[in-house]
Amino acid sequence: MGNRRHKNKQGAPPTYEEFSQKKLKRDQKRKRSDSVSESKPPKNLKKDIVEKPKLSKKTKKVDENDEKEIIKRQREEEKLLPEVDFEELASAKKSLFDDDDGEEEELNDEFDIENGEGEEGEGEDDEEFYDSEEDARERPMFSDDEDEDLDDLNAANMEALSAKLDEEAALEAEEAEEELIQSKTIQPRAKVLPTEEELALENQSGAKDLTVLRTRMIEIVKVLEDFKRLAEVGTSRAEHTDRLLQDICDYFGYSRFLAEKLFNLFSPSEAMEFFEANEIARPITIRTNTLKTKRRDLAQTLVNRGVNLQPIGPWTKVGLQIFDSQVPIGATPEYLAGHYILQAASSFLPCMALAPEENERVLDMASAPGGKTTYLSALMKNTGCIFANDANKARTKSLIANIHRLGCTNTIVCHYDAREFPKVIGGFDRVLLDAPCSGTGVIAKDESVKTSRTEKDFIQIPHLQKQLLLSAIDSVDANSPTGGYIVYSTCSVMVEENEAVVDYALRKRPNVKLVETGLEIGKDGFTSFRGKTFNPKLSLTKRYYPHTYNVDGFYVAKLKKIAPSPHDVSKAGAKEKESLARAEEEEEGIIHDDFANFDDEKDDELIEKSKVRHLKRKGINPNNK
């Protein structure tokens, strides 16, 4: 059935015309039904003749397929309805009444029901009449009666009722729309842009009035949303955007460059939501260490310590959200015993996307401080082997601490520049690359991003990310029976660091393809952005924004390597080592091919001479043989 929410909503009251008509009809019916109680159904109404066999047939054999089809057809018809004016509808009903067509008849039956409470009562009466339940006939109609409608739902009236509910919803929506349009049209074309003098005054007064800025931003956003209708005559969209950006910089404290970059990612209103969400800290979240405990047990112990918590959401089975706590959440005995780790909800996502299986060999290319590594280890139940790499030696300290605290015994911690990776060791089943990034998704955590990022960063960082992603791809074993996956993630929302990087990798390494991330939440990645067109498969990647899921801004892409490539050379393999040794030998050997040949004749002469000399020295006459 339709949405039950609508059941308690009273429909629009009928117009006077309708009302009077209804009254008339009801009287008719009363007469009619009185006669029914004595004898057969009356034949005087065309509608009844057509409808009765149809309904009774339906009640007898409830063919589901049939019904579905009919409902579908009705829906299609209803789709057209919101276009129709209410009054027209009523008149159409009248004309339809005279129609013989079965389907039309049904439609008009619906209209009977839907056109208001009074009529609804009539429709009901009709049906009850056919079901020959006479007691309910005279009952006055209340809006609450609809509840009963739903209760004594049967095959005969089901579609009618569902149709009625749908219809009501449609009508409501229509009204709301109308209201909206009215309110919009009433609004005058307000002048939202400040004049030169006003601006000068504003700047002169030193500290800007934040409330003024705020109202102006909201107004400009409103105008930008419906520019044609609301914009002041003689102003351009560019002027509005320019003013809005300047206000955003003043109000939130962004550099102009970054504000513009972030603004371009969204529609104006969504951009405002994004900027506002960046001012609010995300909730503290923890991840249960399933190697040591269960979420239920952990939650119980923490609640006993006076922590107010709740599961993060249906998409994760290990996350808990902390609202407030009487004890420091990072220093409880449970924390020290490794039962949980403080970890942002967003950083669960790449691990869930990678979904490592037991007994696989996994590489985490940029792993400190170890939240993701330990999650991977927990997912693999401490089997297989995880290489946790981080380029920063100082950061490996916290990584090792977390690994030991959470009891992950299957890890190897190393610190290499991750770009060296297929050379150090390759042939992994899965690789997780949580690339270093500009951090535009975690502005709430680190305010300095607002001003510190420059244009140079958005060239250098993506460059590094591209190199890292290629290394990650080359480190994977394409022939792995269970894996062959790479997950690329960043805590940035910029297209340059996300889609553009993945697109680059897809072009450079034709032996990988994008696959579903397997994550329940998230918006699809962009397939084109400001004139750049990316691989259409990029819609399989996922984006997260602070204002939509209340997680940090994040990006996750999952790739599968389908074939090996010549880039996959590893220094560690026996074959590679041997060929390397051979090459070295060749390089270091002293005698090359262009060295002089032996001349046997000359050699013989020389040998003879030296023999003679040798004998002479011994005091033997060489000629004395």
Partner: protein, 181 residues
């Protein structure tokens, strides 16, 4: 990274044996998933054999850690067990002490175990034997040595020390800078 020499092995095993006694045999002799001891820089790691083999491809200066770190050799050649060894020690522990909820935090802040905080303890602990400290919910909290035997400690004052703390999981926070590199 290399296997321990004969002498190093002796030192390490002697130390471990004071906590887990003859159970040390289980560490060495694990048929299903053979484990080995490896020395990297001055630290000793206890690690599955297959992982140790993988780790050979990491150059010595770049290898930071593998498996579980048991402890480190001091400059004078003694072996110091770290709190990171607690999963292994607690698994095979010979003598145990459980401390009550009210004693947890004092212990985790680095204090010795007082008589008043003891929930229960093994019956046969001799004096100066290695013991493992657990919370009442059986989560290992640290290890130390007994100050008195079980029998003697029964008639101690509530404020008297029953076990000297050597290491506790609070060190994950307190010693983070020195413990892991």
């Amino acid at each position: 990274m290399r296997p321990l020499t004969e002498e190093e092995t002796k030192v390490v095993f002697e130390k471990m044996a004071s906590y887990i006694g003859r159970n040390i045999a289980f560490l060495v002799d694990n048929k299903d998933d053979p484990h080995v001891f490896r020395l990297q820089k001055d630290r000793v790691y206890y690690v599955a054999d297959r992982i140790a083999k993988f780790a050979t491809s990491i150059a010595r200066p770049n290898l930071m850690s593998l498996g579980i770190c048991l402890g480190k050799f001091t400059k004078s050649g003694k072996f110091k067990l770290h709190v990171t060894a607690i999963p292994i020690l607690s698994q095979y522990a010979k003598y145990k002490i459980w401390i009550k909820q009210n004693g947890e935090m004092p212990f985790l802040y680095g204090n010795h175990v007082l008589k008043a905080h003891i929930g229960r303890m093994s019956d046969d602990i001799p004096e100066h034997a290695g013991i493992i400290v657990y919370s009442m919910s059986d989560a290992p909290l640290g290890f130390g040595v007994s100050a008195k035997s079980t029998v003697e400690s029964r008639n101690l004052q509530p404020t008297a020390i029953v076990a000297f703390r050597q290491s506790d999981i609070g060190e994950y926070l307190r010693e983070e800078d020195t413990l892991f590199t």
